[in-house]
Amino acid sequence: MSTRPAQPPESVCAVVVTYNRLELLERCLEALAGQTRPVEEIVVVDNASTDGTAAAVRAAHPDVVLLALEENVGGAGGFHAGMAQAHAAGHGWLWIMDDDTLPEPGALAALLAGAERAPGPSVPPLLASQVLWKDGSLHPMNRPFVRWREPGTVATGAEHGLVALRSATFVSLAIRREAVDRFGLPLREYFIWGDDFEYTNRLLRDTPGYLVPESRVLHWTDRPHTSITGARERFYYHVRNSLLVLRGSSMDAWERLSYLRYWAGTLKDYLRIHGHSRQAWAIVLRGLRDGCRGSAR
């Protein structure tokens, strides 16, 4: 990707992807406005909401850059579009999140402080916040994967007050501009599920990212967990995208094997939960077919 350093290297653009959750979006924007270290710009990507989100943002937040998409392109497409916009504007950091993310006032300042104290000769490709649920525990949907297979890296991270990561989710993630230059954007064709796993695995294959414990956000979901296998048609994306990840280059052989075991288990559980119905088998087979045909990175 071409670079356009129109902004200072430390400028931060928050990218929020939203779909039909105006009330939550308002709370998210309020939390962004309350940051002790203000963001330089906010980009809201509206995934063709039908609840008047675009008009409301235009009216109440004229300073926000609104990308009102004509169709719902899923979380993956939304982050792709929003990050492309922020990157093109020349920002140094792209701070991405869903509309149900509520950063604490010091969340961004802590992320940037984490970047300052991170070990290594260069700025890490990404930094993540602690993502908490309403009860204060780590949100089960957003538990990042640690670089457990590199204990020396984990130890060095701990020495600097950081947790060395192998992958993370798109809920309060600060991505360095140079990482986008090198690795590109999230894959919009994923639509939903697995886009963050694939993207962060790609960015962090050879270089650690870090979780900054002092940076905390609330992920305001009704329930702490969404069952993949409980989904119906959406399970198609899990089947297809996981296969694309497995075929891609973001994981090494050992990681692939481990992920393959997890994925095979979810397929088995899904078919069992849905009584091995024709419809369930059709969804799985369609996902397998498209996962084999699609282009993997």
């Binding site: 640690v146 297979r149 984990v154 130890a155 701990a158 020495e159 950081l162 947790v163």
Partner: protein, 218 residues
């Protein structure tokens, strides 16, 4: 170090591996008493002498001047862990991965909490550079070297840390001399001990695979 009263610490360095450099480094930190014995008798003697903490240094590891102080900072307080390990570097100054106990995803909360205090949680340890609370020896006895050979300390530390989380303090450093260093199981003579260790249930499948692969290589 920030405490008013220093706990009594005995340093235990294995006789055959003890270098002059190591002895000098140990003597320069607190009023440590360096013993020149194998681990188990050294631990026993240290506890008998009334030590509250025992600092094990094996494989000729030479501690940095502040290594013990940093371990002590993490080894005190109301929730003091029974085992606090330091970071072991090779002669080139690179952390030795095989001497850092890897964690699991279940340790994530503890890892995040530990990062704030600049330590990481561990579920077992190696004997290369580690501080042990005397109460751990009182409660769990000594490592069973006769049965488990080179895996004895690892097995013992896993039993000690079954209910409590140990800490690794990366800023407390010790450097191995050039060469293969400590913590390497093994030769053909260690096959029975490795088989016995595999049957204890203390190893994960991955650890079993790694241990037998190391044996096969040797």
């Amino acid at each position: 170090m920030s405490a008013e009263r220093l706990p009594r610490v005995v340093a235990a360095c294995a006789a055959g591996e003890r270098s002059r450099e190591q002895a000098t480094a140990v003597a320069g930190q607190t009023a440590a008493l360096a013993r020149t014995m194998a681990i188990e008798p050294s631990l026993e003697a240290a506890c008998a002498s009334g030590a509250e903490l025992v600092w094990l240094l094996q494989g000729g590891a030479v501690p940095a001047p502040d290594a013990l102080g940093r371990l002590l900072d993490a080894a005190r307080g109301p929730l003091a862990p029974p085992i606090v390990a330091g970071l072991v570097l090779d002669a080139g100054g690179v952390p030795v991965d095989r001497l850092i106990p890897p964690g699991t995803q279940e340790d994530l909360e503890a890892l995040i909490a530990g990062a704030a205090g600049r330590w990481m949680p561990i579920r077992h340890a190696t004997e290369t550079h580690v501080l042990l609370a005397r109460r751990a020896v009182d409660e769990h006895g000594l490592p069973d070297r006769a049965a488990l050979g080179p895996h004895a300390f690892s097995a013992w530390s896993r039993r000690v840390l079954r209910e409590e989380t140990g800490r690794l303090v990366p800023s407390s450093r010790a450097t191995l001399p050039p060469g293969p260093g400590a913590g390497l199981a093994t030769g053909v003579r260690d096959v029975p001990a490795t088989l016995r260790m595999a049957r204890t249930g203390l190893w994960t499948t991955g650890e079993k695979i790694r241990a037998f692969r190391a044996l096969a290589r040797s």
